[in-house]
Structure formats: structure tokens, C-alpha cells
Amino acid sequence: MSSTWMTTRAWLLMLPLLVIMIAVIGWPMIDTVRLSFTDAKLVGTGGSFVGIDNYVKMLSSSNFQRALYATTWFAVVSVAAEMVIGVLAALLLNQQFYGRAVLRALLILPWALPTVVNATLWRLIYNPEYGALNSALTQIGLLDSYRSWLGEPGTAMTALIVADCWKNFPLVAFIALAALQAVPRDITAASLVDGAGPFNRFRFVILPYLAGPLMVALVLRTIEAFKVFDIIWVMTRGGPANSTRTLSILVYQEAFSFQRAGSGASLALVVTLIVTVLAVGYGMLVRRTAGSAT
């Protein structure tokens, strides 16, 4: 079989998928770019060309800056917490103890729940009138009266981060647990004979094997966290007082609530750009760490 035919056949086989991809991703992307240079509304005519007005207005608006800050805060804190809790959970579940298999199976549960279910669950926990958190904290004496965790700008973001952590740390834990299985027993034994305590053993023996897989988890989780929408939408809708309004929420409000398709599109493209830069940067980091334990 000639290589030309092989190539042609490959393209022919990919063609149906390619057409669908262009139709549902490529075309909307291109149209979004076009929209971002217009003052189009969500309904009605296509709008007229306004140049880079949308971008200038948006980048200089305090709404955008606050949303960027909220998104970064959410991503950094929740991902950092997920990594730490995930690794600790993995180290624990890597020990020999009775009931380990059950616990390992249970661990995946939060992650397996649909985000909407998880968000609803946490809304109940945080409920200012009958929420479990209020009840528990007052019963052990840490709280005098019930609080509206999601209703106060000071606590809403933290409450969201806790809910997101609870859902997503199992993913990190599972990736770390898989990596822990790959730590050679001989090296662990050698470090014991060499006199390394738990901390040094973690640092010199376990971490080199954990670094690569954890980097993958970090990339996945950061990108996901930067795009966060659903959990916030269900729990706070960006409130109170826009304190939990992240970039994705802002895009949605701009394009659909305020029906400003043009500036919504420009905002969406900026978010896409940020996530792409993150992904590429991390990708390079992953490639570098991957070679650390060979």
C-alpha cells in the first residue's frame, strides 16, 4: 500500500469527526472572535464593528479586575489545599491497616458526585437556618449564633473553596496513591537503614516519584479551577456583592444576563487566552519534572 493512499485514507477516516469539530468548536470560536469586535446584543441584529473598544473597556473595568482576582484566589487556594490534603490522604491510604480497601473505595465518592449535587449538598450544610455546619459549630461552642456562610462577602469565597476542595481532593489523592505504589520498596528500605526519618524519607525517597504525577494533577486542577463556573453558580451565583464572581461567571452575566454578546465574547476570549497560557506553561513544567525520577 502506498504511503499516499495511507495518508489519504487517514484523512478520510478523520473527516467526519473533523467536520463535527469545526462545526461545534471551530466555527463558534471564529464567530466569537468576530463578535468580540462588535457591539452585538444577544438578540437582534449582528451589531456594528467597534474595533478593540470591547477589550479596552473590559480590561480597564473594575468588574474584570475583581473577577480576575477572585478567580486567581479561588484557583490558588483551592488547588493548593487539594494538593496538600490529597497527598496526605494518599500517604495515609498507602499504609497497611484494617479497612483500607473500604476507605479507598469511599474516597472516590466526592469526586464521582456530579458538581451540581455536591454544590446543593454544601448549600444545605451552609444553610443559615438549618445547616449542619451552624448546628455543629454552636453545639461545640465555637459559634454563638447561626451565620449565613454563603450570604456574607467575608465567608462566601472560603465556603466555596471548602466545597470545591472536598469534591476534588480525591482526584489528587488517587493520582498520588498510584504514584506511591511505584516507589521501589528497596529504596524505602535503604532509607530506613540509612537512618532517614519520616520527613526525610518523604523528601528524598517519595517526593521524586510523586513529583511528575502531582504535576499532572496540578495542571488539570488549576485549569479546571480557573474555568470554575458550575459550583459557584449553584451555590452563590457570584454573590454576595459579587464577592464570588469569577471570570466565567462574569462572562455568563455579561453575555446572557446583560445580553451584551459583543463584550461577553471579548471577555470569553481573554479567559481562553489566560487558560491557554497556563496550560502551555504547565505543559512545559510537566515535561521537565517527568524526567526527575528515572
Binding site: 528500605a189 530506613l192 526527575s292 528515572t294
Partner: protein
């Protein structure tokens, strides 16, 4: 320079007993090789000495101090692993110095010790490399260096050469022998390679099914194996085992008229089933000793010698002869062997009789 005393060590995993009472007493500076097939318990015993596993019962003493329940790091032992077990993200320098670093030895002393060890092992030029940049032989040297630098009371080796190719294995074996002669540290060395055992050991413990079959010097293990298992495990090609029966102070080989008088068999009742062991290298063509008429089946020239597989009666016999011997398959050959070098075992108990 330390003694090692292992008394009545037993180890069970659930209902499976992997060590069934091990007793060994090592003098200071001895090189003990634990030799056996996989699953015989030799690595388990080594791990117990290292403190990586606890025995079910029994005691181990280094210089009269019991080390049962003592943390591995406090036993004053160093161990070399089959897989080298180097820390992948540390340089060779830090790998070798790791044990000292963990013991809070100051940097100047540590550096000096690392350099001395590296010089001894001829790996000074590798000190700044990471393990991933080293060949198998170099990694093994680093692993040995890591053990050596601590100047421990006891060295433990867990099949350290089995991941190396044949040529390198021979080099490292000589190297280990040289190091032991130099340091005179007490060594316990696990292997399934009988050549390593024979060349390195001051004493060999041949293990089987969680027991020591024979604990003796390499010469005795080779010249006077105590059991049939030891006889076949040590020696290459392995010892010929001919089925026979006791016959007036000797052995009559089955399927032949050959009756061999063997000193020490006078009290064995006639007719008792026996196994006559003759090492291939004890068979010659000089005509001296007991004549063994045989027919050549296969002749293999290995270089230094000719390995002949011959048929005697209904049984096979392997002989290693000088390379210059002219024998072709099908030839009738007159072999001979010195009865003083014969080994006779009881076919049932597998114990040596002569």
C-alpha cells in the same frame, strides 16, 4: 569488626513458615554467603538481620547486643540491594553521604569520607552525576560505596551482582573480595549463584525450605556435601547422580555390572537404595581408578574443556575432560574415576553416607 550470632530464628507469614529455626554464629571478619534457590528464605533472613522484617521468634546478636526490636538505623549495619536502591534525584556524592547526612555528621567529615570511599571504588569522576546517568556497574559501585562509607559493624548484601552482565559480575566479584580483604568487616551475602558463593565466602550456608542444609567452608561444601541437595546445588556442570544399591561395602550401579567399593559403607545393609555422586571434573580418561565403560552421546567444547555426556548402563553421565581429548558422539569411551572422590547418599533420607 564484629561477631554476629543468629539463634533459633523463625519467621511465619500466616500459616506459612518461611524460616524454620536458623542458627549461625559468625566470627568477626567472616564472609557468610546464604546460598539457595528462590523462596528458600535467604532474603527473609537477611531482611530480619537488617531489621526490615521482625522474626516470629529467636534472637540475633551483634557483639553480644541483641538487635531484635532495634530500628534498622540503630543496628550499625549497612545494606546493598539487588536493585541498587539509589536515591534518583540525589547526586552520587549525596547518595554515598546520605547515611552520614541523616546521622548529622558534619559536612567536612562527610565530604572527606565520601571522597575516600569514591577513591577506593574508583568512582571519583562520577560524584556529581545523578544515578540516571550511570551504567549498571557504576550504580552498583555507588550502592557499595553508600554502605562502605558508614564503616558499619556488619555488611549485608542482597544479590548485589545479579542485575549485572556476566563480565561485569566477575569484575565486581573480584572487587568485593578485594574490599573484604581490605576492610575485614563481617559480611552476610545472599545469592543463588554458586560461583559467587564459592569464590567470596569464608563459609557458605546452603538453604532450602527455610532451613540450613549445610553450613561449612566452600571447600567442604564442594568436597563433602552433606546432603543430596547441597551436592547438586554446588558445582557446574552439576554432580552426576547414579542410582544404585548397597552391595558389600560398596555401591552397585543400576543397569551395569559395576560395583564400586566405597570406604565408609561397610555397615550399610545390602540392597539399600543409594545414590552415587560423581563430579564431572572427577572423571578422566587416564585409566586410573575405577573404569567406567560408556558411550559418548554428546560432546561440547566450551573452550577450556570438553564436556562429554555419556551413557553408562541405562544412565547418563557428564564428564569434563581436557579440551584436547578427541571424542565424537557414538564413540565407545573408557572413562575412569577415583573412588576417593565419590559421594554416596541414602536415596531415601538424602543424607551423605561416606
Amino acid at each position: 569488626m564484629s561477631t554476629l550470632t543468629i539463634s533459633a530464628i523463625r519467621k511465619s507469614y500466616g500459616t506459612v513458615e518461611t524460616l524454620k529455626g536458623i542458627d549461625v554464629a559468625l566470627e568477626s571478619g567472616e564472609f557468610l554467603v546464604l546460598l539457595g534457590a528462590s523462596g528458600c528464605g535467604k532474603s527473609t533472613l537477611l531482611n530480619i538481620i537488617a531489621g526490615l522484617a521482625e522474626p516470629t521468634s529467636g534472637d540475633i546478636r551483634i557483639d553480644e547486643r541483641s538487635i531484635i526490636g532495634v530500628h534498622p538505623k540503630d543496628r550499625d549495619i549497612a545494606m546493598v540491594f539487588q536493585s541498587y536502591a539509589l536515591y534518583p534525584n540525589l547526586t552520587v556524592h549525596r547518595n554515598i553521604g546520605f547515611g552520614l547526612e541523616m546521622r548529622k555528621v558534619d559536612k567536612a567529615t562527610r565530604d572527606r569520607a565520601v571522597h575516600e570511599t569514591a577513591k577506593l571504588l574508583q568512582i571519583e569522576n562520577l560524584l556529581e552525576r545523578k544515578p540516571g546517568q550511570l551504567s549498571g556497574g557504576q550504580r552498583q559501585r555507588v550502592a557499595i560505596g553508600r554502605a562502605l562509607v558508614r564503616n558499619p559493624k556488619i555488611f549485608l548484601f542482597d544479590e548485589p551482582l545479579s542485575n549485572l552482565d556476566a563480565k561485569l559480575r566477575m569484575e565486581m566479584r573480584t572487587e568485593l573480595k578485594r574490599l573484604h580483604q581490605l576492610t575485614k568487616t563481617t559480611v552476610v551475602y545472599v545469592t543463588h549463584d554458586q560461583i559467587e558463593a564459592m569464590t567470596l565466602a569464608t563459609r557458605i550456608a546452603v538453604m532450602r525450605n527455610g532451613r540450613i542444609e549445610q553450613l561449612d567452608t566452600p571447600e567442604t561444601i564442594y568436597n563433602r556435601p552433606a546432603t543430596l541437595y547441597v551436592a547438586t546445588f554446588v558445582g557446574a556442570p552439576p554432580m552426576n547422580l547414579l542410582a544404585g544399591a548397597a552391595d558389600r561395602g560398596g555401591v552397585r550401579i543400576d543397569g551395569t555390572d559395576i560395583a564400586v567399593p566405597v570406604p565408609g559403607l561397610e555397615s550399610v545393609p545390602p540392597g539399600r537404595r543409594l545414590v552415587l555422586g560423581i563430579r564431572p571434573e572427577a572423571i578422566g580418561t587416564s585409566g586410573q581408578g575405577l573404569p567406567l565403560a560408556a558411550r559418548c552421546e554428546v560432546a561440547e567444547l566450551t573452550g577450556p574443556e570438553l564436556v562429554v555426556t555419556a551413557i553408562i548402563g541405562s544412565q547418563r553421565l557428564v564428564a569434563t575432560l581436557p579440551a584436547s581429548t578427541k571424542i565424537k558422539p557414538g564413540d565407545e569411551i573408557a572413562l575412569s574415576a577415583d573412588p576417593a572422590l565419590f559421594h554416596v547418599f541414602d536415596a531415601e533420607t538424602e543424607q551423605r553416607l561416606n
